[in-house]
């Protein structure tokens, strides 16, 4: 209801102000023959801006502060000792009054002072809403009036509108900055809260990961050693790279140097399909197909391989990363100047010698950069490891055993009834911060290497 009224108000204001600005400038131009600086559209938009912005400002302020203002008002209606209640009970009391006022009713018979507060709050709500609407409309109308008075031959309406558009564009592009700030601040703030419970040294150098949950009733905070998760993450990433780098690199080399153009046109998009598949699908694939296959293979040759293990997760993650490596190395190899290749071939080197001794060394920094980017992707990957790594956060180095990673632990700590005051859920943010810093460093390094290499042949 309220939202509809507000939307209607804004819509009316928009149409009215645009129309007023447009027709006034039109009249000036046609009736009085004045030569206006800007076309009518710009006058209309300018008037609309002047009318809408104050109204939106008022509504925005109301949206921000109405909650706390109304809380204070309700408290003023209730007996003074209510304010001394603890936070949770206070909130419950406020909610009861709100529910009464909005006609939802409450459990049990409402106390007389509650009923009185509710009826007072009901009036307050109505008056508050009407005041805000009136203020918004009045300011909007004032803006409209003032802006349309300004319309004249000399008014540079277009420039002003363009300035406003420019401001809007800048505001949109700061979203990226705000997101980064948001990520860093939220991770930092909650990680610092976590470190007020747990010593950072215990976190970064601990070898036991056992975040006991409060619901089990042990009451203790648990142990939060990062090392088992870190080794799991690194082990899986290394396995993934062992799968992805040879296959990705060799297929890039084959497709760019040997394959017929027609083969390339068919094969390349098929390999790139692997990049578009959601990671949850890979996780399921690992769980249902690859895991049992590997464990069967292990049984056949006498090695005990568990179906959900670092190996399973790593192999499937490697499959996921193949197209990433192959398309990046493809780009980088094809950037090596043809003259180098032709020179080597002209001296009598075979194609493979040219590739191994000329092209690859020239492309090496770029390829290394691509591999680092892929590693950072592997470290941050979540769904495959959630499903296929076996979730066993124990410090060990056998890839055939289940393991756990940083991302898996983040998911485990934050799914379910997360309560953001216990170390059990706050640790997720410390883990997230670690992950963020690790991938950030890898990415910066990789981009630095790739960029440095690119400049060589320009």
């Amino acid at each position: 209801m309220n939202a509809l009224v507000i939307a209607a108000l804004l819509l009316v204001l928009l149409t009215l102000s645009y129309q007023v600005g447009w027709s006034r400038s039109r009249r000036l131009a046609t009736d009085k023959g004045a030569r206006l600086h800007s076309r009518p559209i710009y006058h209309g938009v300018l008037v609309a801006l002047f009318a809408l912005l104050p109204a939106i400002l008022v509504l925005g302020l109301w949206a921000l502060f109405s909650q706390s203002v109304s809380n204070n008002y309700i408290l003023a209606q209730l007996p003074p000792e209510t304010a001394q209640l603890p936070q949770v009970q206070l909130q419950a009391t406020l909610d009861r009054v709100r529910a009464l006022a909005n006609g939802f009713g409450v459990l049990g018979e409402p106390a007389p002072e509650e009923a009185a507060a509710a009826s007072a709050y009901e009036t307050f709500q109505l008056i508050g809403f009407l005041t805000v609407i009136a203020a918004a409309s009045a300011l909007g109308a004032a803006g409209l009036f003032w802006a349309q008075r300004r319309i004249g031959p000399a008014l540079r309406a277009r420039n002003q509108v363009e300035f406003a558009v420019r401001i809007g564009l800048v505001a949109c592009s700061t979203v990226a900055i705000l997101t980064t700030i948001g990520i860093v601040l939220s991770l930092l703030a909650d990680a610092i809260r976590f470190f007020s419970f747990i010593n950072p040294i215990d976190f970064f150098f601990g070898t036991v990961w056992n975040p006991r949950f409060q619901s089990t009733g042990t009451g203790s905070a648990g142990e939060y050693g990062l090392l088992p998760l870190l080794t799991g993450t690194l082990m899986i990433s290394i396995i993934a790279m062992l799968v992805a780098v040879p296959i990705g690199l060799m297929s890039a080399i084959y497709l760019s140097q040997y394959a017929h153009q027609r083969v390339r046109d068919v094969v390349k998009p098929i390999i790139e399909v692997l990049a578009g598949i959601p990671t949850i699908v890979y996780g399921f694939f690992a769980l249902v197909t690859v895991g049992p296959f590997l464990s069967g293979l292990g049984a056949a040759i006498g090695i005990d391989i568990r179906a959900t293990s670092a190996l399973t997760a790593g192999v499937v993650m490697g499959i996921m990363i193949i197209p990433f490596i192959s398309s990046l190395s493809d780009d980088i190899i094809s950037q090596v100047p043809n003259a180098m290749r032709d020179g080597s071939l002209g001296l009598g080197a075979t194609q493979s010698e040219t590739i191994r001794k000329v092209l690859l060394p020239a492309a090496l920094p770029g390829v290394v950069g691509a591999i680092l980017l892929a590693v950072s992707r592997a470290i941050g990957e979540t769904m495959i490891v959630v499903l296929a790594a076996g979730n066993s956060p124990v410090l060990r180095f056998n890839p055939a055993e289940p393991t756990s990673t940083v991302t898996v632990s983040i998911v485990n700590q934050l799914t379910g009834d997360a309560d953001f005051t216990s170390p059990q859920s706050l640790v997720a943010f410390a883990l997230g911060l670690t992950l963020f810093v690790m991938t950030l460093l890898l990415n910066v390094l990789a981009l630095y290497i790739v960029r440095k290499f690119r400049e060589q042949y320009e």
Binding site: R158, E162, V165, R166, G168, L169, V170, C172, S173, V175, A176, I177, T180, G182, I183, S186, L187, A189, I247, G248, S251, Y254, Y258, I270, I271, L274, I277, P278, T279, I280, V281, G283, F284, F285, L287, V288, T289, I319, T350, Q351, S352, E353, S376, I379, G380, T382, V386, L387, T407, I410, V411, L414, T415, G432, L435, F436, T439, L440, N443, L447
Partner: protein, 453 residues
């Protein structure tokens, strides 16, 4: 002289020998290298084939589910509440509503299971079997199906109509052979009587494998797994995609336009650039942490809501759209800008009237690709509570909901493995189908629109 000549030819010959011997080795290694390349390609293609083969072979059968076609007699003896109350002139609207409510309560409380049981028994009158075993044949949602049928048409009272009842997950497993048929009785989910009855009804064509439309129209269900469907998750995904399109496209295009066309080279724009590149590489789960901390904990938006999921995915998709739009803008020839400026257009007019329209195909394809990526994203959604079990189709973006990839995650963890492994693959087929569709639209639009230029 002749000696020297002789030794010269001899060295030449020896050299030639050596080269020839080396050549064979070099050709061998050349071949080896080449074959390693072929092997890598074959491996990569093999993974694609195995992946799709596994998903299709597991998931496709799940789209056909065993369905029992029975004649159901809406027995007035069993259905309580009598005929639907009619509105008398003396009744007020409130009184009438009350009567209808009372009637609905009575109807709901009647013994619908007995109706189901009678209907199945009528299909095989000569079989001696316990009531419990009969009911195990069909999904427990069958009674609600009959009740809803009756609510929709109270005239059915006393009539006999053909109804298709979905077989239970266990029956479906048994008939499809996804569980080991040779297991002893104690290890089977269904009793021997039910299994025999199921086999017999399948033979008599009373149980048939019908296309499981309900996968698309039902929501997830725990009590009646056979009737679980994707509709709720689909709506959740749809809302999130709507949020992503509404927010990410304007903001992304605006940022790209600013950075590419207007931005001066200064600290702020450098910062923005670095940030965008950085955001593109941040692991998706970190965005989930951001959503949990800022949107849910700090701003107090509801958990499990597609709105929050959409906001998180928007922030993830922004870099994709910005980067693609910038490269599209860079591809517009500068002569176009110069011509517009030369004719007296302002810089805003140049950009918005002349440059930007040319980049629409690029922006469109980038949007679709970004949306397809967002559609498959799971990890951040788990952190903002979208993995909760929701048995309703969300009515608006603030309702609790789940999403397609999250539904896959939930189903793969279901304890009824035999049944849900196939169901999960079916959901994956739907998800992959949607993604392929989106990408196909992107490719189609790109070729179509670019040709017109």
């Amino acid at each position: 002289m002749t000696d020297a000549l002789l030794s010269n030819t001899e060295t030449n010959n020896r050299n030639r020998e050596r080269v020839r011997a080396g050549l064979a080795r070099r050709h061998r290694s050349e071949n080896l290298f080449r074959w390693a390349g072929v092997l890598a390609i074959v491996a990569a293609l093999g993974f694609v084939v195995i992946l799709f083969g596994m998903i299709l072979s597991k998931g496709l059968p799940s789209f056909w589910q065993s369905t029992l076609h029975a004649e159901v007699y809406f027995d007035p003896e069993l259905i309580e509440g009598g005929p639907m109350p009619e509105r008398a002139d003396s009744n007020s609207a409130a009184e009438y509503q009350q009567a209808v409510n009372q009637w609905q309560r009575d109807v709901t409380l009647s013994n619908w299971n007995a109706l189901v049981e009678t209907a199945i028994r009528a299909q095989a009158p000569d079989v001696e079997i316990e009531a419990r075993d009969v009911l195990a044949l069909v999904t427990s949602a069958a009674r609600f199906q009959l009740r809803d049928l009756y609510f929709a048409n109270p005239d059915l009272l006393g009539q006999t109509v053909p109804v298709a009842l979905l077989a239970s997950a266990n029956t479906d497993n048994w008939l499809k052979g996804t569980i080991d048929r040779s297991q002893p009785d104690a290890r089977q989910q269904l009793s021997a009587d039910t299994r025999a009855l199921a086999d017999r009804l399948l033979d008599e064509d009373i149980i048939r494998f019908d296309f499981a439309w309900h996968i698309f129209t039902n929501v997830d269900s725990r009590s009646a797994p056979a009737s679980a469907g994707l509709a709720g998750a689909f709506m959740g995904s749809l809302y999130m995609m709507a949020v992503v399109i509404v927010l990410a496209v304007p903001i992304g295009v605006a940022s790209a336009v600013y950075l590419e066309e207007f931005a001066p080279k200064n600290r702020l724009t450098d910062l923005i650039e670095v940030n965008i590149n950085n955001l593109a590489a941040v692991p998706s789960i970190v965005f989930g942490l951001l959503g949990a901390a800022i949107f849910i904990n700090y701003m107090g938006l509801p958990r499990s809501a597609p709105l929050v999921g959409g906001l998180v995915l928007t922030l993830m998709t922004l870099p994709t759209i910005i980067i693609a739009t910038r490269s599209a803008l860079r591809a517009v020839p500068p002569s176009l800008r110069q011509a517009a400026l030369g004719l007296g257009a302002s810089r805003n007019q140049t950009v918005f009237h002349h440059v930007l329209p040319l980049t629409f195909p690029g922006i469109l394809t980038a949007t679709i690709i970004g949306v397809a990526q967002a559609l498959g994203e799971t990890a951040p959604l788990l952190l903002i509570g979208m993995s909760a079990f929701i048995a309703n189709i969300p009515a608006n973006p603030l309702d609790s909901a789940t999403a397609l990839p999250v539904q896959i995650y939930l189903w793969q963890g279901n304890e009824n493995r035999n049944f849900f492994e196939a169901r999960t693959s079916a959901a994956i087929i739907v998800l992959l189908g949607l993604m392929i569709l989106l990408n196909a639209i992107a490719i189609f639009l790109r070729t179509r629109l670019e040709r017109k230029k």
